[in-house]
C-alpha cells in the first residue's frame, strides 16, 4: 500500500509546492479541494434552479426549451446553462483530485475510514446527477446516453421489461418516463447533499467554503469559460436514427465508449471491482492503530478544552458520573479517536513542573504518554551540548520526521505538534534544558491531524487556551509549518534560529538547578 501511496504523495508535494508559489499557501487550491467541490456544487444548484424555471419537461418541448434558454436572452440563462455544465465538470475533477490527495496523505485509514467510505456513494450520486442532467436536454447526445445507460442497466437481471425499450422508436418515450428522469435529476442531487453532510460528520470544523480570493478566481474562471465557449446542444433527438458520432462529456460519460469496446458485463465487473478495492483501502495493510486517549476522571473538572480542540469530534462532555460537584466530564469515543494527542496539549493539567514520575493528567494518550514526553524531553536535552542547544518538538508527519540531530540539536518526535502543552516550552527554557525551542509541525494545507498547527499557533500567540505564558522569552522560541517535501527549508530555519539566539546571561549559567534535571527524576 505504501508503495502505491508514496508516488502519489510525492506528486502532490511537487504540485502543491508549485501552487504555493503561484497562489500563496492560504489560497492554494490543492488545500481546499473539498471546499471547492462544495462551491461548485452550489453553483450547479443555483444555475439549475434558474434553468428549471424555463425548462419544458415534456419530451416534445425539452430540447426547444433548452435552446430557447441558451439563446434568448443569451446573457442570462445561456450563461447559466454553460455555468451549470462547466461547474459540474469542475466538480468531478476536483472530487477525484481530492480522493487521490487524501489517499496520498494517508488520511483515510484506521479510524478515518468513515469519511472515505461515505465518500463512495458521493461519487455514485454525482455521476447519477450529471448523467441524468445530460439526459434532460433530449438532444442527440442525450439519446445516446439514454440508450447506452438503459442497455447497460438492462444487463442486471433486475428489470422485467428491458428499460431500453423506452427508447426503441420515435414515440416510444412518453412524457411520464421523461418526467421520471426530470424527477431523478432533482432528487439525486438533494440526496447528495444529505450524503455530503454525513461525509463531514466525524470531522470537526470542516473546510467547506474556499477562501474568498480562490472562490472569486474560480468563479471568474467558470464565468469566463461560459462566455467564451458556451455549452451547446447536439441537435434534437430522433429515436428513428442512431447517434453515430457522439461528442460526449468525458468527465461524466467515459464509461459508455467502454461498454461498446468491451461489453456491458465487463464494465459492470470493472465498476464493481473498483468499488470493492476503494472500499477496502482503509483497512489494507500496513494498519497500525495506536490506543485511544484515556480520561482520568479524578483529575478532570470538565473545563472542556479537550473537546473544543479535538479535530475528529471524538470527545464529548457528558454529565458527571463520579459524584464530584462538577457539571460535566470529558468522554472519549475510542472509535473516533486517532490518538493525535491534541487533547493532551489542550488540557490544563498537562503541566510538567510536578515531581510525580507518572505525570498524571486528566486526559492522556498511551503512546506517548505525557510522562514519556517529559522523559523524552529530558533525554533529548542530555543529548545536546554547547551554548546554542536547540530542542525541536517535531510532528512525525511533517518535515521534522527526518530532521537529523546534531551536537547541539535534538528532536523530540510527536504524533502531532498540538500534543505539546505550552507549559512544556516554559519548562524547557526555565529549567535550562535548551537555549532555544523550535516547534516543527505540518503545513496547514496538508496537516495530518487537521487542526494541530492552527491550535498551536493560537496557543503561542496567547489567543487560545492554554496560552503560552508571557514570561517565556519569545526570542528563544520559533516555529515552522512545513510538509515533508520542505525538509531542507526546515533545516535552514533551525539554523537561522540558532544563529539569532541571544547568548545566555552569565549569571543564569551559574544558577543551581533545583531538581537536578540531568539526573533521573525521583
Amino acid at each position: 500500500m505504501n508503495a502505491l501511496r508514496r508516488p502519489v504523495r510525492a506528486f502532490f508535494a511537487a504540485l502543491e509546492g508549485l501552487f504555493d508559489r503561484i497562489f500563496g499557501p492560504e489560497q492554494n487550491p490543492l488545500a481546499h479541494l473539498g471546499a471547492l467541490g462544495f462551491f461548485f456544487y452550489w453553483i450547479v444548484v443555483a444555475t439549475g434552479v434558474h434553468l428549471y424555471i424555463g425548462f419544458d419537461t415534456s419530451v416534445a418541448g425539452a430540447y426547444d426549451s433548452v435552446e430557447h434558454l441558451s439563446r434568448s436572452p443569451w446573457f442570462l440563462a445561456g450563461v447559466s446553462r454553460s455555468l451549470h455544465r462547466y461547474a459540474s465538470d469542475a466538480l468531478v475533477v476536483v472530487m477525484f483530485v481530492h480522493i487521490l490527495r487524501e489517499f496520498g496523505l494517508d488520511r483515510c485509514r484506521g479510524v478515518r475510514w468513515f469519511s472515505w467510505v461515505v465518500g463512495m456513494p458521493i461519487i455514485v450520486f454525482v455521476y447519477a446527477s450529471g448523467i441524468s442532467g445530460y439526459w434532460l436536454v433530449w438532444d442527440r447526445l442525450a439519446q445516446y446516453v439514454a440508450i447506452a445507460s438503459t442497455e447497460w442497466l438492462d444487463w442486471l437481471p433486475i428489470f422485467g421489461e428491458p428499460i431500453a425499450r423506452n427508447f426503441l422508436t420515435r414515440g416510444s418515450l412518453d412524457d411520464r418516463f421523461f418526467t421520471l428522469l426530470v424527477f431523478l435529476h432533482i432528487a439525486v442531487p438533494l440526496i447528495l447533499v444529505f450524503v455530503l453532510w454525513i461525509h463531514l460528520q466525524r470531522i470537526s470544523r470542516p473546510d467547506i467554503n474556499p477562501p474568498k480570493r480562490l472562490a472569486a478566481g474560480t468563479a471568474a474562471m467558470l464565468l469566463g469559460l461560459s462566455l467564451v465557449y458556451p455549452a451547446t446542444s447536439q441537435g434534437p433527438a430522433d429515436l428513428g436514427t442512431v447517434t453515430s458520432i457522439v461528442r460526449p462529456d468525458w468527465f461524466y460519460l467515459p464509461l459508455y465508449p467502454l461498454v461498446d469496446f468491451l461489453s456491458a458485463g465487463s464494465v459492470w465487473a470493472i465498476v464493481a471491482g473498483a468499488t470493492l478495492v476503494m472500499l477496502a483501502i482503509p483497512w489494507l495493510p500496513p494498519l497500525r492503530r495506536p490506543p485511544a486517549a484515556v480520561v482520568t476522571l479524578d483529575l478532570c473538572n470538565g473545563c472542556g478544552r479537550c473537546a473544543e480542540d479535538c479535530p475528529y469530534s471524538a470527545i464529548s462532555m457528558a454529565p458527571r458520573s463520579d459524584g464530584k460537584p462538577f457539571e460535566v466530564e470529558a468522554v472519549v469515543d475510542p472509535d473516533l479517536c486517532v490518538s493525535c494527542g491534541i487533547c493532551v496539549g489542550a488540557c490544563p493539567t498537562s503541566t510538567p513542573f510536578r515531581s510525580d514520575p507518572k505525570l498524571p493528567t486528566a486526559i492522556d494518550v498511551p503512546e506517548p504518554a505525557l510522562h514519556a514526553l517529559r522523559d523524552a524531553t529530558r533525554e533529548a536535552s542530555r543529548r545536546c551540548v554547547g551554548d546554542r542547544r536547540i530542542l525541536v518538538f517535531g510532528c512525525l508527519h511533517s518535515a521534522a520526521a527526518l530532521q537529523p540531530e546534531s551536537a547541539d540539536t535534538a528532536v523530540v518526535p510527536l504524533p502531532c505538534v498540538g500534543m505539546l502543552p505550552p507549559s512544556f516550552i516554559d519548562y524547557v527554557l526555565s529549567r535550562d534544558l535548551a537555549d532555544g525551542v523550535f516547534l516543527a509541525g505540518c503545513a496547514d494545507s496538508s496537516s495530518y491531524n487537521r487542526l494541530g498547527p492552527r491550535w498551536t499557533r493560537a496557543r503561542l500567540a496567547g489567543e487560545r487556551d492554554p496560552r503560552l505564558r508571557q514570561r517565556v522569552p519569545r526570542d528563544r522560541l520559533a516555529a515552522a509549518w512545513l510538509a515533508p517535501r520542505d525538509r531542507k527549508r526546515l533545516a535552514a530555519e533551525i539554523d537561522a534560529f540558532r544563529a539569532r539566539l541571544p547568548k545566555r546571561a552569565p549569571a543564569s549559567s551559574a544558577r543551581p538547578a533545583l531538581v537536578a534535571e540531568r539526573e533521573p527524576a525521583q
Binding site: 473538572n301 464530584k324 462538577f326 490544563p348 503541566t351 486528566a362 505564558r469 538547578a513
Partner: protein, 134 residues
C-alpha cells in the same frame, strides 16, 4: 496550622468552583505546614508548588468556562487576572528554585497568601456577587 482560613464568605455559589477553591486552600495550607516543619526540603516544596500550579491552571480553566456559560460581563478582566496569577505562581516557583526563599519560608508563605487572597477578595468576590443575583 493554616495559612488561609476557609470562610463561608469564600463561597461563590457555584458548587464546582467552591469545591476547587476548598481543595486549593487545603493544598496551600498543607504546603504552609511543610514550610513550618524543620524538614521542609526544597524539593518537597517545589513539588507542592508544581501541584499548586497544576491545580490552579485547571481551576482557572473551569472558572473561565463557567463565566462564558453565564455570559459574565467581567470575564475579560477576570481572565486577564488569571493569566497574571499564572505568571506570578511561575515567578514564585522560579524564585524558590533559585533559593530566594531558603531560610525565608515566611516570605514564601506571605507571597502565597497575597497571591491567592488578592484575586479571591476582588475578582472572585465580584463573580460571586454577579452569580448569586447581585
Amino acid at each position: 496550622m493554616t495559612l488561609i482560613e476557609w470562610r463561608d464568605s469564600f463561597k461563590t455559589g457555584i458548587e464546582s468552583v467552591d469545591f476547587e477553591h476548598a481543595e486549593l486552600v487545603a493544598l496551600i495550607n498543607r504546603l504552609y505546614d511543610r514550610l513550618g516543619a524543620a524538614s521542609g526540603r526544597r524539593e518537597a516544596v517545589a513539588a507542592f508548588l508544581g501541584e499548586l500550579h497544576d491545580g490552579i491552571a485547571a481551576h482557572f480553566a473551569l472558572e473561565e468556562k463557567l463565566m462564558r456559560k453565564h455570559r459574565y460581563a467581567g470575564l475579560p478582566e477576570h481572565k486577564d487576572d488569571h493569566e497574571k496569577l499564572l505568571d506570578e505562581i511561575r515567578d514564585i516557583m522560579e524564585e524558590h528554585e533559585r533559593g530566594v526563599f531558603d531560610d525565608a519560608s515566611d516570605r514564601l508563605a506571605e507571597r502565597l497568601d497575597i497571591w491567592f487572597s488578592r484575586h479571591f477578595n476582588t475578582f472572585d468576590r465580584r463573580l460571586h456577587e454577579a452569580v448569586s443575583g447581585g
